[in-house]
């Protein structure tokens, strides 16, 4: 069975589990799903918000998927996103440039911040074979605490847990775009995400570098034997992956929001793992999976307002989808068993 069917089955099972959960806790699932979908798609504003919610997810999903192609499990997208967003915020506060130029610098700062954050685990993996799962977790917490103390010291905001608001000049929010979607908070970040999807797809499928990275992911030893610089590929892959996660931070903190929160690792970082998995690590798949998650996340508020179903149903559905995606081999086996039984029946009958 190919990957898109597997993802589709996982989604179906996840939604089914959502129905069950609502029913078991004494809610009406039909009503729940109706408001969940309406909340995400009812009018242009809601569609815009769905896309805006999906934007950082596209990027973190892309980040995780990209690393995965090289056989690396980047679980540190949250920290890279946070640190990238922090660098972007710092640049936004400190630099006074014409808007177009400033936005480019902010996006670059976010990319570099995230990339540097992933470079450390990349080097540790390539040079000392330190497992990236553990080192990226450590980097997550280092980012968490640095941002926790740096934000109040340098960009203290009105609330204890937030930085000062960025000036409008340094934000990805664009009035015309917002008007087009009737006041949605959709912003230029979406284009950053879409361009990244295209660039990554090109990089993976059409370039020598992409071929080398994939080769390392398939079989590190064979790649080495074929003369591919494995260590270099690992470092580079983590660098790019972290950079993309950093862009997620840019779109979140200077696009969807206008300040950076402290005391929390952005949940989009972990959702990126889910997005990448559901999207089968392919750029287009990631895009679709992220929009689907964006729909669930942006619709849940409306559902919660119209019914008394807790909004965490959306997160639960996503989590269960991921479990079914991870165990899709079960569906595979059942399918094969069914096919062979049918073949056997046919033989007997004929």
């Amino acid at each position: 069975m190919n990957n898109s069917i597997k993802s589709f089955v996982a989604v179906l099972l996840g939604l089914l589990a959502g129905v069950l959960l609502m029913a078991v806790t004494g809610h009406n699932p039909v009503e729940g799903f109706k408001y969940l979908i309406e909340g995400g798609l009812k009018n242009p504003e809601r569609i815009g918000n769905t896309l805006a919610t999906a934007t950082p997810l596209i990027l973190t999903g892309l980040s995780v998927a990209f690393a995965f192609r090289t056989g690396l499990f980047n679980i540190g997208a949250a920290g890279q996103m946070l640190f990238g967003g922090f660098c972007a915020t710092a640049v936004g506060h400190w630099l006074d440039l014409p808007r177009a130029l400033l936005l480019v610098v902010i996006v670059l700062a976010g990319f570099i911040g995230g990339a540097l954050w992933a470079l450390v685990p990349g080097i540790l993996k390539a040079r000392y074979n330190v497992h990236e799962v553990v080192s990226t977790i450590m980097m997550n917490w280092i980012a968490y605490w640095i941002v926790f103390y740096a934000v109040p010291s340098y960009f203290k905001g009105s609330s204890e847990t937030e930085s000062r608001q960025l000036p409008a000049n340094a934000l990805l929010q664009q009035q015309g775009l917002s008007d087009l979607f009737q006041g949605s908070y959709i912003n230029l970040g979406l284009f950053v995400a879409l361009i990244s999807v295209v660039l990554v797809a090109f990089l993976i499928q059409k370039t020598t570098l992409g071929y080398e990275l994939k080769a390392v992911g398939f079989n590190r030893h064979a790649a080495e034997y074929a003369g591919i610089g494995v260590q270099r590929s690992i470092v580079l892959s983590m660098f790019i992956s972290g950079g993309i996660a950093g862009l997620a931070g840019v779109t979140q903190y200077t696009g969807n929001a206008s300040s950076i929160q402290i005391g929390i690792l952005p949940s989009q970082g972990f959702d990126g793992i889910a997005v990448a998995l559901l999207g089968a690590n392919a750029p287009l798949g990631v895009l679709l999976a992220a929009i689907f998650f964006g729909l669930l996340y942006s619709g849940r508020g409306f559902m919660n307002a119209m019914t008394d179903i807790p909004p965490e149903i959306a997160d639960s559905i996503i989590a269960i989808i991921i479990y079914f995606a991870a165990t899709s081999i079960l569906v595979d086996r059942l399918y094969r068993k069914y096919k062979s039984r049918r073949a056997a029946n046919k033989k007997q009958g004929g």
């Binding site: 004494g26 997550n140 807790p310």
Partner: protein
């Protein structure tokens, strides 16, 4: 200095215990050959079930100590039950163990708050918790008494007993030997008549029970409130396991290091000799040390050789 140490020691111990028991559980799982990064989620499940059961019982029976113990056992059972999901995926279905663990984390975080909201209306459940006590006689010993036996928590002793038993089980019993064999050379173990899949199930389930206990320990020794997360302590437990090189005493040392370092960081502002150090340095310190330790250990890692690899009986 001495008084400071005396004051922060009980906190350091209380902070160490949830990490210790969770990492110890992960030790069983990884020694049997299954990576478990779902520790965070399993702790959350334990914290939720512990809070829920205790909350319901306290409504009826008040603050009797036995209620908390029932809550702890419920947390262990819930953690164990939930870990079956991970065991099934990684043992029966040969799923990617890291992805399965991630799914466990996601499910636990979302589902428990969903349920908590349905049951209590808010995502938080508050309970009253264990009272610290002075261990009779032992707390009168000079130095040691003040450090280890005054204002100590019942859960601490429970976990330390489990640690001692676990060490004996792992190294001195046939079960422990078989379990470790499954993480090193599963095919050899199978050839010797060990049922690899059953041993791995045992490893994961023990890990689930201990993580559940760890989550409940946070709740019942210092936080007093379920809120749907355990501040990433599950991931820290995983790091402690590796830092401790997959050995019970190593894990004890590593988790105590984390517990002590975090406590020092938390109280640094009220202690003049520490207040000169910027708090961010103290907070970041344990993570940086772990990274450095990983580099140093990278040459001589004691990781179980087959950890993370699905077992396929036909493949040798």
């Amino acid at each position: 200095m001495w008084t400071t140490l005396e004051q922060i020691f009980p906190y350091a111990i209380v902070f160490t215990i949830p990490l210790l028991i969770t990492a110890l559980g992960a030790l069983f799982s990884e020694r049997s050959g299954v990576v478990n990064i779902g520790l965070d989620g399993l702790m959350i499940i334990g914290s939720f079930m512990g809070a829920f059961v205790t909350f319901k019982l306290q409504e009826q029976y008040g603050d009797a100590p036995w209620v908390l113990w029932v809550g702890l056992l419920a947390a262990m059972a819930a953690g164990m039950l939930f870990s079956v999901l991970h065991a099934f995926a990684s043992i029966n279905l040969s799923a990617n163990q890291i992805i399965s663990g991630t799914a466990i984390n996601l499910i636990a975080g979302a589902l428990t708050i969903f349920l908590a909201r349905n049951m209590t209306g808010s995502g938080n459940i508050r309970i009253s918790i264990f009272e610290p006590f002075n261990v009779p006689l032992l707390s009168d010993i000079p130095f040691l008494g003040d450090l280890f036996f005054t204002r100590s928590n019942p859960v601490t002793w429970f976990v330390l007993i489990i640690l001692a038993v676990s060490t004996v089980v792992l190294y001195k019993t046939p079960f422990g030997m078989r379990l470790r064999a499954c993480g090193e050379h599963p095919h050899a173990a199978e050839a010797a008549g060990v049922r690899v899949q059953s041993m791995r199930y045992a490893g994961v389930l023990i890990s689930g029970a201990f993580s559940g206990l760890g989550g409940a320990a946070i709740l019942m020794t210092y936080s007093g409130e379920f809120n749907g997360n355990v501040s990433g302590l599950g991931f820290l437990a995983l790091a402690s396991l590796i830092f401790g090189q997959w050995r019970p005493l190593g894990v004890l040392a590593a988790t105590f290091f984390f517990g002590f370092a975090s406590t020092v960081a938390n109280v640094s502002q009220v202690i003049p000799s520490l207040a000169v150090i910027p708090p961010v340095v103290l907070k970041v310190f344990p993570y940086v040390v772990t990274l450095i330790a990983l580099v140093i250990f990278s040459k001589s890692s004691n990781a179980p050789k087959a950890v993370g690899e699905p077992f396929d009986s036909g493949k040798r």
